[in-house]
Symmetry: C2
Subunit: 239 residues, 2 copies
DNA sequence: AATTATCCTGACCGAATGGTCAAGTTATTG
DNA sequence: CAATAACTTGACCATTCGGTCAGGATAATT
């Protein structure tokens, strides 16, 4: 159940003794509606700040200011900086796990790969801060996510890699290494959240529009599917 | 000349008043060899720490410890945290600018694209900390690199994009959007430095070997070139 | 040998860090 | 309405932050 073991992290834990949920009977229950609103506000603010500055670079003061609350209140709800961070990571992993949950060898490779690219792209778009938070965690050596990477996520990848391999055996696509292919899709889509500043700077845009995202998705689908020899029905009969 | 304007950054500058090179006549001259050795050690340590924790999350204390020097000595050589960070960024941008510096419409698209993928992959491999440092800077909204992204780097991309477009016009490759293609190559190669922890965790490796990198490079070249309709001579007549 | 420039670093500074606590206010419930 | 639970927050704490500085150590120059 718990994605992240709370202790045993790379950095020395000096303070942050994890005071374990002061009042509320359980974390997820959300009894009062003040609590619900404040927690939502804090989580959103924290996601922004952690994404921008990383775990160590983020300050509770900055999070509190962005949430419009005094620092003490943030700690009242979240217990500790570490707990808040872990909670955000777990929320992001849940979103991630919901992705492409059930595919089988019988499915159409083109459809599945396109769905993968599209849903991954939408994840980056709908939760850019969460995506960047995740990226910052990995960039820093994944001190909180080591186990998840070596366990759950590894299994996720291996299972899908096997299906890709079987597709290749059946001649439905080129015999490319499926893990490298998954990483390729991963990186290409993740890029538009993580390197947003670069993309906007270079293209001279203020933001990516829905149309831009659709265009990029189409581009990626076209190039990657063609690149590994998957045939697919052209969606635009006009072009 | 100066890639980065030192003031006018997103964050409020409270301290760090940039004391401007105490003794040495000029920054780049490197007169003594003690200086040379210490600076090299400090820069290497700082690259690691900044890459791992971002600008705000990095501490001079940690950098000093990794360099095996007292904190005061780091400040003696580098003047300020900000100056040290900027110097590292500039060093990385120089490495980057050396990449694929001269290509023309007359060149072979397959050769150029393969060279781009390969050299970018090697940059990620030879300077993983620098790559991650750059990634962390972009992830945080590129507070120090805004101008560079909107200026120099944008021109770099636009110039190469035009060449790709002309190749497409001549029928040497599919008429794909050249900027999205550059981003695709960018992200796919950058991934192996930035998300190293993820790649290692999922593949169950301790590190990527030279053979791994070569295999990935070949994979990326194959898929991307085929994906945008560039024909290329197969390097392995045996497989 | 004397002088000067460079190198080195412990002590120190004000500000910011994560976290605690007690005393308060507000809301819920018997 | 009384009692209890939930929420709020300013004051405070030890530690760490980036940066300064004085003064000693070392090396280069004359």
């Amino acid at each position: 159940m718990a994605l992240i073991r709370h202790g045993a992290v790379g950095w020395p834990m000096t303070q942050e003794s994890a005071p374990a949920e002061r009042g509320a009977r359980e974390q997820g229950e959300a009894n009062g509606m003040t609590r619900q609103r404040n927690e939502r506000e804090i989580l959103a603010a924290a996601e922004r700040v952690f994404a921008r500055h990383g775990y160590r670079g983020a300050s509770l003061q900055a999070i509190a200011e962005q949430a419009g609350l005094p620092k003490s209140n943030v700690l009242y709800y979240m217990g500790s900086k570490r707990g808040l961070y872990v909670r955000l990571l777990e929320r992001m992993m849940e979103r991630w796990n919901a992705l492409l949950d059930d595919i089988s060898v019988e499915d159409d490779p083109a459809e599945v790969l396109e769905a993968f690219i599209r849903s991954k792209m939408q994840l980056s778009r709908r939760h850019p801060e969460g995506s960047r938070l995740f990226a910052a965690e990995i960039l820093g050596g994944a001190p909180f996510l080591q186990e998840y990477l070596h366990g759950e996520l590894r299994d996720w990848v291996q299972a899908r890699a096997r299906i890709l391999e079987q597709w290749a055996e059946r001649g439905l696509m080129d015999p490319v290494d499926p893990v490298w292919l998954i990483f390729l899709i991963w990186s290409a889509t993740q890029h538009y959240a993580d390197f947003e500043a670069q993309v906007l700077g270079i293209t001279g845009r203020d933001a990516l529009s829905d149309a831009d995202v659709e265009e990029i998705t189409t581009f990626l689908t076209r190039v990657i599917l063609k690149g590994c020899g998957v045939r697919f029905r052209d969606a635009a009969p006009d072009g």
